[in-house]
Chain length 346, copies 2
Amino acid sequence: MTNAKAITGLLYPVVQAPMAGVQGSRLAIAVSAAGGLGSLPCAMLSATQIESEIKAIRSAGIECYNVNFFCHKPLRYSTAQAERWLSALANHLQQLNVSPDAITAGSGRSPFSHELADVIEPFKPPVISFHFGLPDADILERLKTWDVCIISTATTVREAQWLESQGVSAVIAQGLEAGGHRGMFLSDDLTTQSGTFALLPQVVSAVDVPVIAAGGVSTTQGVSAALSMGATAVQAGTAFLLCDEADTSELHRAQLQSDAALHTAITNVFSGKPARSIVNKAVREIGPICDAVMDFPHTANAMAVLRSKAEACGSADYTPLWCGQNASGCRSVPALDLVKELVGAV
Amino acid sequence: MTNAKAITGLLYPVVQAPMAGVQGSRLAIAVSAAGGLGSLPCAMLSATQIESEIKAIRSAGIECYNVNFFCHKPLRYSTAQAERWLSALANHLQQLNVSPDAITAGSGRSPFSHELADVIEPFKPPVISFHFGLPDADILERLKTWDVCIISTATTVREAQWLESQGVSAVIAQGLEAGGHRGMFLSDDLTTQSGTFALLPQVVSAVDVPVIAAGGVSTTQGVSAALSMGATAVQAGTAFLLCDEADTSELHRAQLQSDAALHTAITNVFSGKPARSIVNKAVREIGPICDAVMDFPHTANAMAVLRSKAEACGSADYTPLWCGQNASGCRSVPALDLVKELVGAV
């Protein structure tokens, strides 16, 4: 068992969900400074960027923060897979006048590795969280020698029990309400996924480590309900998307503040893995679940080109509009205010 | 505004969800006698059956009980619709050696009407709950003159506000975790549906009438969390399915107690309207969502024949296995024990 005190000792039991692509050190700093746990999503950052972002956090005087990585198994794709995906996108590529030649391999999302452990080792971040399982055993053992708090996401009771058996410090119980990628890793069967009200009490009963409740938690009442169900803390993502310190694009902000945010779906069309987004043209017409997607994250290569073309015209038609089922808690305020509001400390 | 005291005055704030086809007066009596609110699902009963079931409840000395009706708009179907559905079922009909001629119009499910109001008027049941909206305005006005508690289900904030504007006594906020039919009526767009953790606090904020939380509530912690989020009571269905007084079939009970219950989906293949069921062959191979279904409830006619054939061979392949996302709270005990367990009064 690794060290859970970074979670159990928080001034306010609020973890800011790491949200790759829409936030960096600024939001993490603000949340940690407010007494919650700020998170730095590293999945889409280079080694140099990770180093500079952690330095920014440390320079701000923040001691307790979380760095987040993905743990997917990188899969090579076949030409046949790529062709099938391009064929599913054919109408869209044509509409936006995109040549398949414009689609490149992209920066991708690298899973956690010894090389990335090398990058963060000088800082020994107090909390390291993972999505899509855990890194390989030898990497995990290496991290455990740092006496850090290691966390990962469970979307089922079985995943929570498996994570505990691997010695994590805490598990995040991610209910189906949550925005962004499902952390599922023992099964890719969406019928196993359940809402926070169903999942949380079962996970709390099944494991002895602290449980962090995620999914639909964006109000004071939600936080207190999660704690009364046995959660040690909550993880909120969507609620922070409009905060001053988030890098959420204007297009994404506009969608979050509109009636569009009342329509979300679990979709695999943006990355190849299921994730909750506001329903836009891409989700509606290509998905929400499309059998022709490529393995994560290769699906994103073609989508990135469509997105870029559309966004240049002011359209969010192909933008992954990550959003949970409760955008009503979003506030265009400093993160400090939101953290205090969530815990009723205003 | 009608009279909410039947809800606000319960000894234990637990409403037993009406579950057509799997329970009758026996379960309702047991739950009401235990201090909760027992419900009699009338949607699939004849006028004579409704009368005799209510008499059974009254004879047991129960004063506070709920009668539940559907409020769907009955739609006639075209031959083309019926043919499209039969064509979608062709393989299944063939596998079970069912001739399309064996499919009859079935008993159907009648929406609430003046005729049904005539049947229940002598009893003036203290609580009348509806699914799929509310009956026509003149019927509703008639019920209001009885000084009863009128309830209906909301699956979105907009539906809750609409129900309140029609003068209901309380609204049920039905989270996506719930088993059985979604009560949705202002929209049939599944992307509007959200989990209890997201829906409940928003509904509580949006309306002034008491809110009953449904969906994934099957543990003591779940009940107390729902109350802490502002619910006046909870409605639990799945948790009661194994109770001694429920008429749940042995096939259904076996599925609820197996790992199959870890896999549920919202499906329209059993009735034409979306409902949460354990994933069986019908859900997996015809659905979960099939565009070729007939309007509710005509879809059920063909399914009833397939079900009957399969069940005769001991198979639940075509049985609607209604189940929420948290079957872990199911107990093979008298309902009295379950009600007390839910409120922590054991």
